[in-house]
Amino acid sequence: MSSPFEPNPYLPEYLQKIEAERAEAALAMSRRSFIKITGLAGGGLVLAMSMGPGARQALAQTKSPAEAASLNPYVQIRPDNTVVLYAKNPEVGQGVKTSLPMIVAEELDADWQKVEVRQAVIDAKLYGPQVAGGSTSTPTNWDPLRKAGATARAMLVAAAAKQWNVPASELTTENSVVHHAKSNRSATYGELAELAATLPVPDAASVPLKPRGSYRLLGKRITGVDNPKIVTGQPLFGIDHRVDGMLFATFTKAPAIGAKVKSANIEEIKKLRGVKDAFIVEQKGDHIAFSPAGPAVASGVAILATTTWAAMQAKKQLKIEWDETDASKDSWTDYRKQAAAFATKPAAAQVLGQAGDVDGAFAAGKTVEAMYTYHYVSHADLEPQNTTAWFKGDSIEIWTPSQTPQAAVDGVAALLGLPKDKVTLHQLRGGGGFGRRLANDAVLEAAAISKQAGGIPVKVQWMREDDMTFDYYRPGGFHSFKASVDKAGKLSAWQGHLITVSRDGKTPMTAANIAPTEFPANVLANQRMLQSLIASKIPTGPWRAPGSNAIAFAVQSFLHECSVAAKRDHLEFVLEVMGEPRFTVPDNLRALHTGRAANVIKTVAQRAGWGRELPKGTALGLAFHFSHAGHFAEVAEVSVDAKKKVTVHKVWVVADIGPVVNMSGAENQCQGSVVDALSTAMGLKITFEKGRVEQTNFDKYPIVRIDKAPEVDVHFIQSEYPPTGCGEPAFPPAAPAIANAIYTATGQRIRTLPFSTEGYTL
């Protein structure tokens, strides 16, 4: 086997690096598992477990529960038998605050009813990478967390063996109790923890992990650990945090992206009711580039007031003169014109990859050509960006719902010139992420503003309008395709021409790229991938299923155009394209496997009743997409009336992400992804002219409501492959499944995201 890991080509460099390091660490750990490893990069758990009990106590969380015994950085046990599990990664709605501790609890044999989950401190030495991005939390933490649970359990068993003077092999564990059948003795983990914490930590490799068949907790439906707080409105989110004496701040940036403040009516603003301070913040670094660790801050005006409302009212009174010398002058209308011109000149495009005899196949077969367009979209997290920061002269304390808290610490340290250990960051729950909070712009602004205000604790709160008009958007773009089908009706060649945005004129901006091996290039003998670049200064970044969220619409819709041209049944055609079961990257467990793909495609077709009779104007559409190591096939049942009014009745999702950790969470992610994809496909777009974004709030950004949400049927094929993430890969196939259904129902092909630009409504 070469490597069990293939980097996700659509993740930003920052996340690719983390994924690669973690994969390498896991590989090294399995290869050298019999050696005691003490200083492996990214192997904080191993490090912590190699230390003596004294050091382990020192590693305990800053606010450890009274009398809790620490067995490792993830597990503390109180005398009352409460098992405290630490959730290492940021929670933004993807469910990891529940699912990652479940993995520990399974191997620990902890009684989930007596588990208390706490958010971990930010510490790479203890926890390795702490990040919520790329659907990586499950695959990268699966082994380390199972080992954390299993070694802690082994220590509790060893404590009981010592106490009762019996062999450890005679002991069993269940629901936080160690039991000795022969003598009919039992002790709770709470009774054993103090002794267990003094015992040597076993080598993780010597501790067996459970076979899947004996799981008691994994795969079950477990309600979110924060749900009791959510339903009673207790403080939980970034926006909820309060510090005594803090002021509430707004930060006003330029309407034209990248413009700088020349002057502002600061003195007038300072006199307004509730306003305590106002000042201009100078631009630092490059805030247009997506860079979680910055350090960069945009030019703007900060207003600090006694309430958020006072700061927001004062913001409306601001009169700012902007220097637009370096500002964006971008125009979406102009991008469209440029793209149309590029599409006519594939020969002038950059060749990203090619194989076989594409032109020969085109000449011999029936060719199909089409161009697809997709708009920019905003993340629109329901909790607008915010951060509370308190600069204290030689240190700073930060409370924020960042998806990349470690990068936030690095960025703040660099921005303020502080050592990293003088930056304390508390991770709070995020009201939605979708990739927006991978960027730490609000964190860096808050840090800069608290410092400039003279060390006052400040909560910087973006208004919805700020959030929508300054984002690292899902980039818009264009795909021009040409393909051929041969006399037998087989797909014989494929040429994809991505026309995308670039800031430097050489490479696509973040999340604006395509992999040269993107499907179907990775399964076809004759294929070519081309690229042309449009100059842009509009910030882009990862947005749920980066790359895939638009590529899947274009590719899977065009694939349907090919099967229509070949007069073939689409299900049969797609399965034929997949071909024999194989990994598209040999022996790579995280690559597309055509057999896994065919399996989810066949299963979804069966569940949806593919081929059944439907009333006129109603049809089924099918699409498949592989991303984040997950294989997802979806079928949509859709009706369209004469006025192009669309009703999505039901969507079937069939997924292979290996074994499911939390069935409730995974199903919720799939249902939500389909609704998110429907919103985005039907009506969401960000446009800009003269460098100014034209949509500012939900009145012009129509996210789907409950009355238009379809029924979503979710089914998991729980294969034997290692588990992978579920926050993103259910999104990409939904839009093309709906578009393909609309074509079948009406004969009208939709080639633009969102469909509203072609006159469709929900």
């Binding site: 207790q234 927001m312 009145d699």
Partner: protein, 161 residues
């Protein structure tokens, strides 16, 4: 000074607060009741839903002065701390409705008002009523399920929630 009746208690808002301030920001910033959420500020998302005399309203659209003398209920006031949760709150936990959870206070407030009016709502009644509230994560399938679940609970206990 303004006096407000919130969750059965009288709460005072100081003169430093502009009486035109939306109820949302008085709740959050002046009174520390942060369960009610800010999402859009323009009456589009309903994350800020509270009850005014039992009727769901968008608290970002109501100046605090106009809430004086009225009965205000927020998410914090649905069940007393430590007391049994309402049928709606229980159903939300049982169905594991939340993803990020940010909109759910508003959803629960509107669902509670709906069930008080219509103890056994049809899917269509749920759609019509709950369409006022946006969920960015798309948890609508479960919101619907949880409302039916809560309705069944209420029917069982004879109307007491």
């Amino acid at each position: 000074m303004l006096s407000l009746n919130i969750n059965g208690q009288t709460m005072h808002v100081g003169d430093d607060v502009d009486p035109k301030t939306p109820l949302l920001w008085v709740l959050r910033d002046s009174l520390g009741l942060v369960g009610t959420k800010y999402g859009c500020g323009v009456g589009q998302c309903s994350a800020c839903t509270v009850h005014l005399n039992g009727v769901p309203i968008q608290s970002c659209q109501v100046p605090v002065e106009s809430a004086v003398g009225q009965r205000i209920t927020t998410i914090e006031g649905l069940s007393a701390p430590g007391a049994t949760l309402t049928a709606v709150q229980q159903a939300w936990i049982e169905e594991d409705v939340p993803q990020c959870g940010y909109c759910q206070a508003g959803q629960i407030m509107r669902a509670t008002a709906l069930l008080a009016r219509t103890p056994n709502p049809t899917d269509e009644q749920i759609s019509t009523d709950m369409a006022a509230n946006l969920c960015r994560c798309g948890t609508y399938t479960r919101i619907r399920k949880a409302i039916h679940n809560a309705a069944a609970k209420i029917a069982k206990t004879g109307g007491a929630s």
